[in-house]
């Protein structure tokens, strides 16, 4: 059982190593720490958001609002710290409180109205993007000292690669995410709800509180991702990060998390992010391929992983049937 549980994660790891080896065979420089540093920096905001998405998908839900929340974050921070004159150390915590409450509100609607997460977070997506539009439709530059300091922070890896602040932030979020998922009661509750909501409820899992917390966590991390994104671009723009939710979902699925919930690893999502980043890096290295191949390859990977998961579910249900028949 343990081996079949680890199978999707092992497959992801194998695909990543194989893909990296293939890229290395063609472009030996791809193994340098510079490329790895850029891989982490370029995908930092996506990675942070994908950790939240992992929890949502583990619970059997989906969160379509994260791209909009990232855009809202950028615009809010740019305007609050620019025209609003708020000190960054006040604006950033305020923003995180707003996004967390926003997620909690969506979670409450999902639970108390008993509506599919898909449509509730769709409304959230419209709402967050709409508010971002209302704040400003222009791309607002961010000029604060704190941002300059954070952008200048990096850890020099052997070989000249730079592990930037947002890259480190992403790694830290992944570590915290792994701890929350596997070593806290909240994490166990998330898995329980995703595995079977009804039995979780009968076992005494606080469904309402956990559901609200899951979406609050997802929006909180989307807020963090938005901060990372604004550090990455030094600006806030209401049309930014369109479709990030789809990339995050793709990363989670490629990372081996079951879309029906209850099964998967935060660490798998990290591999999913790296694979998606690697595809982009390869396209840049190659130079002749168009960037839209990224989308097609991600679509193919999505399909193969979903098909793989279906195969595993089918196999295990057949094994259970056989076991039930044997014991009867």
């Amino acid at each position: 059982m343990t081996s079949s549980r680890l199978f999707p994660l092992a497959t992801t790891l194998l695909i990543f190593i194989l893909a990296y080896a293939l890229c290395y065979a063609q472009f030996p420089n791809i193994l340098s720490t510079r490329v790895i540093g850029n891989l982490l920096t370029d995908n930092a905001f996506l990675g942070i958001a994908a950790v939240g998405m992992t929890f949502v998908i583990l619970s059997g839900g989906i969160d379509l609002s994260i791209g909009s929340v990232i855009a809202f974050t950028g615009v809010f921070l740019a305007v609050a710290m620019g025209d609003g004159g708020m000190p960054p150390l006040f604006a950033i915590p305020l923003l995180l409180v707003i996004t967390t409450l926003f997620g909690a509100a969506m979670g409450a609607m999902i639970h108390y109205l008993a509506m599919p997460p898909f449509i509730v977070t769709l409304a959230g997506m419209f709402f967050a993007r709409g508010v971002a539009f209302l704040i400003s439709t222009a791309s607002v530059p961010i000029n604060v000292d704190l941002y300059d300091t954070l952008q200048g922070l990096y850890f020099r890896m052997p070989g000249g690669g730079r592990l930037s602040f947002i890259g480190m932030a992403m790694l830290a979020v992944f570590v915290v995410g792994i701890v929350i998922a596997h070593f806290t009661s909240f994490g166990r509750n998330v898995y329980a709800i995703g595995g079977n909501r009804q039995s979780a409820e009968l076992m005494g899992v606080p469904i309402a509180r956990t559901t609200i917390l899951i979406y609050a966590l997802s929006s909180f991390l989307a807020g963090l991702a938005g901060i990372a994104f604004s550090l990455y671009t030094s600006a806030g723009y209401s049309l930014a990060a369109v479709g990030v939710e789809l990339d995050a979902i793709a990363a989670v699925v490629i990372g081996g998390t079951l879309l029906t919930g209850g099964f998967g690893y935060v660490a798998g999502t990290f591999l999913g992010i790296l694979i998606m980043g690697l595809i982009q890096t390869y396209i840049v290295f190659d130079g002749t391929l168009s960037s839209w191949w990224t989308k097609i390859v991600i679509g193919l990977l999505l399909f193969s992983f979903i098909a793989l998961q279906r195969g595993l579910v089918w196999l295990s249900s057949r094994r259970n049937d056989a076991a039930a028949a044997a014991s009867a």
């Binding site: 109205l113 509506m115 409304a123 419209f126 839209w292």
Partner: protein, 344 residues
């Protein structure tokens, strides 16, 4: 008997549409004016019918998919693919007939792919159609080779901007396809079978319904509608824009279906309701522009509409509603039926 039931079913939507149109008229006095010039009708009302055409077309297919308890996220991307295919074929000197048939064929093929994933691999519809949603724009980019393919074929442009008897052609398209779909599904048992799948797919399979084939057909219908919408959108701007054609229209189409009073839980549907829903959305968009609000308000207002509908549709408020309704015990149960139906 059937006509009053149908009317009663879409009555809340008609009232909502009427209220919005009345508001629009109050804001802009000339709103209801319709003029006839250059062989075509002009006016805000005609504009709403015309601008709402892509969403209305998508909503027809989406209604059927949602009735089976599914969802089709890929329609926007399929629109982009079909627009790109149509533009590529017509600029390579293929005849209009070949272009249209091939484009619609591609759309149906996309739908069949989604349907196969849902029906035979048993993948949740959201995820199954997500694959094409992600990959579709990449495919469209491959077809257009990364540029906005423009064309000058008068026949193809007619689909988006022409008019027959003064009525814009896209309007005729969505009305005719809507009526055809309603007749096909409501005068035969097909509609019933589709609803049966939405209520309980396993039970309908055990009852002898060919659920696999029917699901394929429903997703293919959605692909067909997306193909027509894609051609209209491309013909409207005389070019195929792989990045922006149909962007976020899947969400508008789902919203139209939900505003049309269809439950996302599947099991019952009204194509007329969805079409009125599409017109409500378009009227709101037009109203926002007429009122002088910046178009940025669109998204916030759409979010508010979804929230209101969710609250109305939610099982929790149904329980509350039924509680207050059945409080006076003397009231006969039959009398409360119409109101309940309208609420759903």
């Amino acid at each position: 008997m059937t006509i009053p039931t149908t009317l009663r079913r879409v009555l809340p939507q008609l009232v909502a549409l009427f209220v919005i149109l009345a508001l629009n008229t109050a804001i802009a006095p000339g709103f209801l004016d319709i003029a006839y010039a250059n062989g075509r009708l002009y006016g805000s009302l005609i504009d709403i019918l015309n601008r709402g055409a892509p969403v209305a077309l998508l909503a027809i297919g989406m209604t059927l998919v949602i009735a089976t308890k599914g969802i089709d996220l890929s329609v926007g991307a399929v629109m982009a693919i079909c627009g790109a295919v149509a533009a590529a074929l017509i600029t390579n000197d293929h005849s209009l007939a070949v272009t249209l048939v091939a484009t619609i064929g591609i759309g149906i093929l996309c739908g069949l792919w989604n349907g196969a994933l849902v029906a035979f691999l048993g993948i949740q519809p959201i995820i199954a159609t997500l694959i094409l949603m992600v990959a579709g724009r990449g495919i469209a980019q491959l077809v257009t080779e990364g540029v906005i393919l423009t064309f000058n074929d008068p026949g193809l442009i007619f689909v988006g901007t022409g008019s027959v008897f003064g009525i814009p052609f896209p309007v005729i398209l969505w009305i005719v396809i809507g009526i055809a779909a309603s007749l096909l599904f409501r005068t035969t048992a097909l509609g019933l079978l589709v609803e049966a799948i939405g209520i309980n797919r396993r039970a309908s399979m055990l009852a002898g319904i060919g659920t696999g084939a029917l699901l394929m057909a429903v997703y293919a219908a959605s692909g067909f509608c997306a193909a027509v919408a894609g051609i209209v959108a491309a013909a409207d701007i005389r070019g195929a824009d792989a990045n922006n054609a149909g962007l976020w229209l899947e969400l508008d189409a789902i919203l139209a279906v939900v505003v049309g009073g269809n439950s996302l839980m599947g099991g019952r549907f009204s194509i007329a309701g969805s079409l009125i829903g599409a017109m409500i959305i378009q009227s709101v968009n037009t109203g926002i522009l007429l009122a002088g609000f910046p178009p940025e308000f669109n998204l916030v207002i759409k979010a508010a509409i979804i929230v209101v509908i969710l609250v109305v549709q939610s099982p929790a408020s149904h329980t509350l509603f039924a509680f207050f309704r059945h409080r006076p015990r003397s009231e006969p149960a039959a009398a409360s039926e119409p109101g309940k139906e309208a609420a759903q």
